[in-house]
């Protein structure tokens, strides 16, 4: 009552003159307005947790259906059936030209699985407590799942690898569990920034600079501005995250996704918010946008956050040892690794101009069961469908990652070597392909002839993150030029890049002859004038 009276007085005083206005202004509230539940107050979480599954059991006491939802997702299954190509994909199956494959390397790779204990091919995908809630819902930034522990966090200080003298500090799961919240750039980034085995290695448009980026790095995620999280675009539904690298939306002509709109488009596209005709001042650009993906102009370069991305990886040079028989590591002037005995030669780059290609969203992977030939042309790990005339393609920016990796020249297939692992056959420990390949191929259930060679491969990664502010978007001349960015792109007439050779030759010939005629005529007039 007294408070109400005081407030009334304050209001009256404030209304009575500008001098009082400052006093009546309410103080900014210290409480967090992002959640209605303080998990620190839950009895279930006020205890010591020795393992991840124990935390999950506590979560499931209230969030009874959460594990079931996770069980249906790609993040859990690492398996995806492409409805168009009928290929079975997912991290469990696909091969890339980075660390190649997870088969026989589970304990290391599954540190990025949203689960606990996937250490071999016999992982129990039906167990609810195997779901890792904290990987996505940690807000402290302290939750870590080191490689080698099959997706388990380390709760007590542990020497790893055993006998190495290196100690991994144990983390307090209760502290982390009591602070759970929404997913963030930090949680998604814990895995997605580090794809390919390190910060920025794989994607080029995703690295730790996006954890708290400036506006120049990403106009939407700008930590001082719009501050989008990944989930702002990748809108989750029942724990299933929108957006896909296996079935990307290359062309979205469905317009803005307003509430109540029928249909289930991809909410993560640019168009889902910006619509198909977002250029109000320059309508001509909207026409560009019928053939050119937004990303092409609005992501001028990738790896812009000061973190280099890997551009090439040559496995064929791996395995060298120094005079003492030890592993070699070479670094460039900036301290970035360019050679490792375990992995071979790398090149890295920052601020990279993408390559461009017509892309219709159709991606065909080269899997272990596919036959490949060693030719002059690189084997495409993922063939990106697209053409100027199929009506479904747009010109997209791509990171094209090129490498050389082991293959079986007799069976004509790619190879899934056993790399990670503290055992005698792991290549990263013993540098012996003859031991590493049979183990890996057996785990994949694929035949191996006993012979291996290296084959040149390339893999394309459509660029879609690190959207620049509009004043940093590409200018016309980047493409409208003789040697512009779209030099190799067929099927469009690009003023300044293209011309009709015949018309240009004939045209300049006529102009030149006219000039010649005029000069000749004039000279003759001058000469004859003198005679008279």
């Amino acid at each position: 009552m007294k408070v109400a009276l005081a407030l009334c007085c304050a209001g009256w005083l404030a209304a009575s003159g500008p001098v009082r206005a400052e006093e009546a202004k309410p103080e900014a509230k210290p409480v967090k307005l992002t959640t209605t539940a303080d998990h620190g107050k839950f009895k279930q979480l006020q205890k010591t947790f020795d393992s991840g599954p124990e935390v999950t059991k506590a979560c499931l006491e209230c969030h009874t259906e959460a594990a079931g939802q996770i069980h249906r997702t790609k993040h859990w299954k690492w398996e995806f059936l492409n409805p168009e190509t009928k290929q079975t994909l997912g991290k469990k199956t696909v091969i890339n030209n980075f660390c190649i494959s997870i088969a026989s390397n589970y304990a290391s790779c599954t540190s990025c699985h949203v689960g606990y204990g996937w250490k071999d091919a016999n992982f129990d995908f039906a167990k609810q407590e195997n779901v890792d809630c904290l990987a996505c819902h940690d807000t402290t930034g302290n939750y870590k799942k080191p490689p080698g522990f099959a997706g388990n966090p380390v709760t007590k200080d542990t020497e790893f690898p055993p006998g190495s003298g290196k100690i991994i500090k144990g983390i307090d799961l209760a502290k982390i569990a009591q602070k759970v919240g929404k997913s963030s750039r930090d949680t998604c980034g814990a895995c997605h920034f580090n794809g390919g085995g390190g910060d920025g290695v794989k994607h080029g448009d995703m690295d730790s600079s996006l954890a708290a980026p400036t506006k120049d790095i990403d106009v939407h995620m700008d930590a001082e501005g719009l501050d989008f999280t990944c989930g702002t675009c990748h809108k989750t539904s029942s724990h299933d995250v929108a957006g896909s690298r296996y079935t990307p939306t290359a062309k979205d002509d469905k317009g803005v996704q307003v509430r109540g709109k029928a249909g289930s488009g991809n909410p993560a596209t640019c168009v889902a918010c910006h619509d198909n005709a977002p250029h109000k001042k320059e309508p001509r650009l909207n026409h560009h946008a019928t053939k050119i993906a937004c990303q092409t102009c609005h992501i001028p370069t990738y790896a812009r956050g000061g973190i280099a991305t890997k551009m090439t990886w040559d496995w064929s040079t791996a395995g060298k040892r120094d005079a003492d028989g030890k592993h070699i590591v070479k670094k460039d002037a900036k301290g970035r690794i360019t050679y490792e005995s375990r992995k071979g030669d790398f090149t890295l780059a920052e601020n990279v101009k993408p390559e461009y290609a017509w892309f219709n969203g159709n991606v065909q992977y080269t899997l272990l069961t596919d036959k490949i030939e060693k030719t002059e042309q690189r084997t495409q790990i993922n063939k990106m469908g697209g053409s100027p005339s199929d009506g479904k393609s747009m010109i997209w920016p791509m990171k094209v990652f090129r490498g050389s990796q082991p293959y079986d020249p007799v069976n004509k297939s790619l190879i899934t070597p056993h790399t990670a692992g503290n055992d005698d056959t792991g290549f990263w420990k013993n540098l012996d392909w003859d031991k590493a390949i049979p183990v890996g191929m057996q785990d994949s259930g694929a035949p191996y002839s006993g012979k291996f060679d290296f084959i040149k491969t390339e893999m394309s990664w459509p660029i879609t993150h690190m959207v620049a502010p509009k004043d940093k978007a590409l200018g016309c001349v980047e493409c409208h030029a003789r040697d512009g960015r779209l030099t190799g792109i067929q099927g469009v007439y690009l003023p300044a890049r293209d011309n009709n050779r015949l018309v240009d030759t004939a045209g300049w010939a006529i102009v030149f002859l006219t000039l010649l005629g005029v000069i000749g005529h004039g000279t003759l007039r001058i000469v004859t004038a003198r005679k008279h």
Binding site: P30, K32, G141, A223, E224
Partner: protein
């Protein structure tokens, strides 16, 4: 000796925490402020950038407790204050974004980020 130092640091930090009753420091906001305000200036000053991981938790706590910026020429608190933010907000987006955040909260946020990002913190952090 080290134990005493750590205990002292813990005590200082808890004092800092207690002064803003029940405020739950937001290390992420601290991260943005530290990188966008502190670092943006330090990057061009002769002293250069200072990584959170360049000091231990105890050293950071002691630094904040002493409240001596530029070897005592001015205070640390001043650079987190509303008045300072108001003075630079036309050219600094972080200062503008957090213009109305109470001084103590923002100081706690920065402290939380430094503690977390310290050499012996939970995730040693760099400037950017």
């Amino acid at each position: 000796m080290k134990l005493i130092k750590t205990l002292a640091a813990g005590a200082i930090l808890s004092v800092v925490a207690a002064s803003a009753s029940a405020y739950d420091a937001d290390w992420k906001r601290g991260r943005v402020y530290y990188r966008s305000v502190c670092t943006s200036c330090h990057a061009v000053q002769p002293i250069g950038t200072i990584n959170p991981s360049s000091k231990t938790k105890a050293e950071w706590a002691a630094y904040l407790k002493a409240d001596k910026h530029a070897k005592g020429k001015d205070t640390v608190k001043q650079y987190v204050s509303k008045a300072y933010r108001a003075s630079i907000k036309s050219g600094n987006k972080a200062a503008e974004k957090f213009a109305d955040t109470p001084d103590q909260e923002l100081l706690d946020d920065v402290a939380a980020f430094l503690t977390k990002g310290a050499k012996d913190g939970d995730s040693p952090a760099s400037c950017n």
